[in-house]
């Protein structure tokens, strides 16, 4: 930047500095003139800043809430991204603000390292490592009550698709059930003999076998491979960031999930903040609503300022207000007042809500300014 030394004297944001610099360079202004122009820019900048005493939070709440009334109330699923159901609209926005630990439709977008991203077969390989595979996906399971046996008839085609070998499956089952498995590779058959002559043991073993994950990550129920521009991207139903990022072939730095709490646990509070902004923005945009980024950023900041994720609601931001009256005005009025009465709490009436309740001027806008005049002082 040519005019960096002049611009750096003013507390402009980075993007404003760059913009001014670009304009000045375009006209190739002299330094003395540039100084004057920048000074005028700074005046304009100050006029455009939010004013002291402005209720930024209320403006943000209204700016998100008003277009929110036009969102679809119905849990709306769409099949846009590779036939995966995703909760959208108002239910999704509520989910984000409530910081649900288990969102109704967790989903991941997994990008691959260069080596794997270009080739469909290679991408399939990674997908197989991630997608949870159960015995019923690759075989037919029969129970033989007379001989107390479980017979597994493997499907060679399905196994090839999942890139599993006969020996691997055998070992997995032996390890999972802690029972010896007899195998016949030619007929693709595995036999599990139950020693106890009890029908119940047979059935519980069968259930255990059915629920056993042979390969992949338990939480990830389905993986879809899609080509995006010149690379293959995996979309998954279900999410487990911690496990997926350790899988070979996954480009961890570009892999994301829509489960914000998981991001908080794996990537920390700043990661969660970015994720909240990203998710809220995309939810609103998808519905064709335009909300200024700053409002969403304010919400995300409020949710993450304590170092941990707090929901907007009585278990989080609103519930931690110090004023009893403010909490009572939000939700569960009787409980809040009763608990406060039992504890003998005192409300110091420092906030906005409580002062409105008792009918005092609030400390916002012009109410926040005190005018002092010194009488009799000559200049």
């Amino acid at each position: 930047m040519k005019y960096k030394d002049i611009l750096d004297k003013y507390p402009f944001p980075q993007s404003v500095k760059e913009e001014i610099n670009a304009e000045l360079e375009k006209f190739n202004v002299k330094k003395t003139q540039a100084r004057k122009i920048v000074e005028r820019c700074f005046q304009a900048y100050l006029q455009n800043l939010i004013e002291p005493g402005e209720p930024a939070g209320i403006v943000a709440a209204q700016s998100i809430g008003e277009p929110g009334t036009q969102m679809t109330m119905r849990t709306f699923h769409y099949a846009g991204v590779a036939e995966i159901d995703v909760t959208l609209g108002l239910p999704r926005l509520i989910e984000i603000m409530d910081v649900r630990k288990n969102p109704s439709t967790p989903m991941m977008t997994i990008r691959l390292t260069e080596e794997y991203a270009k080739d469909r077969e290679k991408a399939r390989e990674v997908a197989n490592r991630i997608e949870a595979t159960y015995i019923l996906d690759i075989a037919e399971v029969l129970t033989d009550i007379r001989n107390m046996q479980i017979i597994v008839r493997l499907d060679a085609n399905a196994m090839e698709r999942k890139q599993l070998s006969f020996e691997e499956v055998k070992k997995k089952i032996e390890k999972g059930l802690k029972l010896p498995v007899e195998g016949n590779e030619e007929e693709m058959e595995l036999v599990i003999q139950i020693k106890e002559p009890s029908y119940k043991t047979l059935m519980t073993t069968y259930e255990k076998l059915r629920k056993m994950v042979l390969t992949g990550i338990k939480e990830i129920r389905r993986v879809i491979i899609r080509k995006e521009e010149d690379e293959y991207v995996l979309y998954t139903e279900g999410s487990n960031l911690k496990k997926v990022m350790k899988i070979k072939g996954v480009d961890f730095s570009r892999t994301i999930t829509n489960n914000i709490y998981e991001i908080y646990e794996v990537l920390g509070i700043e990661g969660a903040r970015s994720a909240i902004i990203r998710e809220a923005k995309s939810t609103l945009e998808e519905q064709g609503l335009e909300v200024d980024d700053r409002h969403i950023m304010l919400v995300a900041d409020a949710m993450t300022s304590a170092g941990e994720l707090r929901q907007i609601g009585r278990h989080g931001v609103a519930g931690e207000k110090q004023s009893i009256l403010a909490r009572a005005a939000f939700e569960m009025t009787v409980n809040n007042l009763l608990d406060a009465a039992i504890r003998g709490d005192i409300d110091k009436l420092t906030g906005i809500t409580e002062n409105i309740i008792v009918g005092q001027p609030i400390r916002l806008g012009t109410g926040d300014v005190e005018l002092v005049s010194r009488i009799g002082v000559k200049k």
Binding site: S253, L267, I269, E270, G307
Partner: protein
């Protein structure tokens, strides 16, 4: 396999631990007490990665859609 650096993730902005003098200077220019800053937990994955201790101040450099680059400070608790 090389160790994963969580800070490389696209969702995670750059975190930096401040020295004591830097921290003091920042608090003076902002005219704030330490406690008035937003917090970050000691057991936060990123705080662990940069080796932050309780009472330290972390500088976070975010890519902001509105201002290009924004700098935020967080107190480690």
């Amino acid at each position: 396999m090389s160790k994963i650096r969580l800070q490389d993730h696209i969702l995670v902005p750059k975190h930096e631990l401040l020295s004591e003098e830097e921290a003091k200077k920042i608090l003076e220019t902002l005219r704030l007490n330490k406690e008035q800053l937003p917090k970050i937990k000691v057991d936060d994955p990123i705080a662990k990665e940069i080796g932050a201790k309780v009472g330290d101040i972390v500088r976070v450099e975010r890519e902001s859609p509105t201002s290009g680059k924004s700098i935020v400070y967080r107190l480690v608790v």
